[in-house]
Amino acid sequence: MNGVITVGMADLKTATAPERLLTAGLGSCIGICIHDPIFKVGGLAHIMLPTANGSLGGNPAKYADTALELLLREILGMGANKTRLRAKIAGGAQMFSFPGKPQVLKIGDRNAEAVEQELKKNGIPLLVADVGGSFGRTIHFDVGTGELHIRTINHGEKVI
């Protein structure tokens, strides 16, 4: 398999077609995939938490807000056109539940909400989201076609 670039936890990478981006084992984390379908470049961020809360320093790829900002800057720097950018996201699961404990603020849901909000704020249309559930996901993003391939252990595989 040529041109598969691995994105770690709290990491973000960009790629040019026909390269693909891979991130493995998303639980409550979210993979944000963005590409320009005409210029055929894109990127993937594996974010862990909703917001950096304005704190500077640290790793910007860890948080939905700072990661999206950095990802957009890098993709635009490669020559993509902002008005053509499209997003797909996956992840945000709740892997464990404890009986009798209210789960008011599930981190997976909060992550998904934050990512959707940040995309809206930046004017990037979210084409499709595969979020929630109680299972892990490994995703491959083809930056040329925009196809997002999602693999799970016991909940099937799909392309969105």
Binding site: M9, G25, I107, R151, I153, N154
Partner: protein
């Protein structure tokens, strides 16, 4: 979080005593020999956790227990799926394969194993530190290891730049591999170290 060499040694000692008790409990439970590695103390960025678990999407059985009491934290046992199946077979005296993904009996057996291991760990830690600690009800996920660990580490929606945990490998003869990690919550570490006079 900066920790001194002396504190690291104290933590490794916590790991030694606690995991030693847990390994003995597992050995008694399964009626087979269980070896334990020298515990490692890690103070790393969470994104480097993959260094200790290998491939993030390898399926593993993860038993997660919250540590409650005056020095709260988290205790996690994880076994590769094949090892978890052997553990369940050994517990029930089965020779036929078990399905730990869907068989509820197998899953509750695994949770019980986690419960016993964590309780043994906590009893040792309580005796050692004088700080009373209790385990929560155990929760189980059989899924990609990275997915399970990120959910555990990020549960409260905050993450220190550095996470600190004690990591011990348990190896059973034949063919059982497991890993135990204990993560003190922010603040608990100082309490535990303080109680130990470090």
């Amino acid at each position: 979080m900066e920790i001194t060499q002396f504190q690291q040694d104290a933590l490794r000692e916590i790991g030694n005593i606690g995991s030693g008790h847990a390994a003995t409990a597992l050995s008694t439970l399964l009626q087979r020999r269980i070896d334990m590695s020298v515990p490692k103390v890690w103070a790393v960025a969470f994104e480097q956790v993959s260094a200790i678990v290998g491939q993030l999407d390898t399926p593993q059985a993860v038993i997660y227990v919250k540590v409650e009491g005056e020095a709260p934290g988290k205790a996690v046992f994880f076994f590769p799926v094949e090892s978890a199946e052997i553990v369940v077979q050994a517990l029930f005296g089965l020779t036929e394969p078990v399905d730990i993904y869907f068989d509820e009996m197998a899953q509750s057996a695994l949770k019980e194993v986690g419960n016993i291991l964590v309780s043994s760990f906590l009893i040792a830690l309580t005796q050692f530190s004088g700080i009373p600690l209790q385990p929560s009800v155990p929760a189980l996920a059989v899924d990609m290891i990275g997915a399970s660990l990120d959910a555990i580490f990020l549960e409260e929606g905050v993450l220190e730049d550095t996470v600190l945990f004690i990591d011990t490998q348990l190896t059973g003869i034949p063919k059982i591999e497991g890993q135990f990690i204990f993560l003190p919550d922010d603040g608990s570490l100082n309490k535990l170290l303080g109680a130990m006079g470090v």
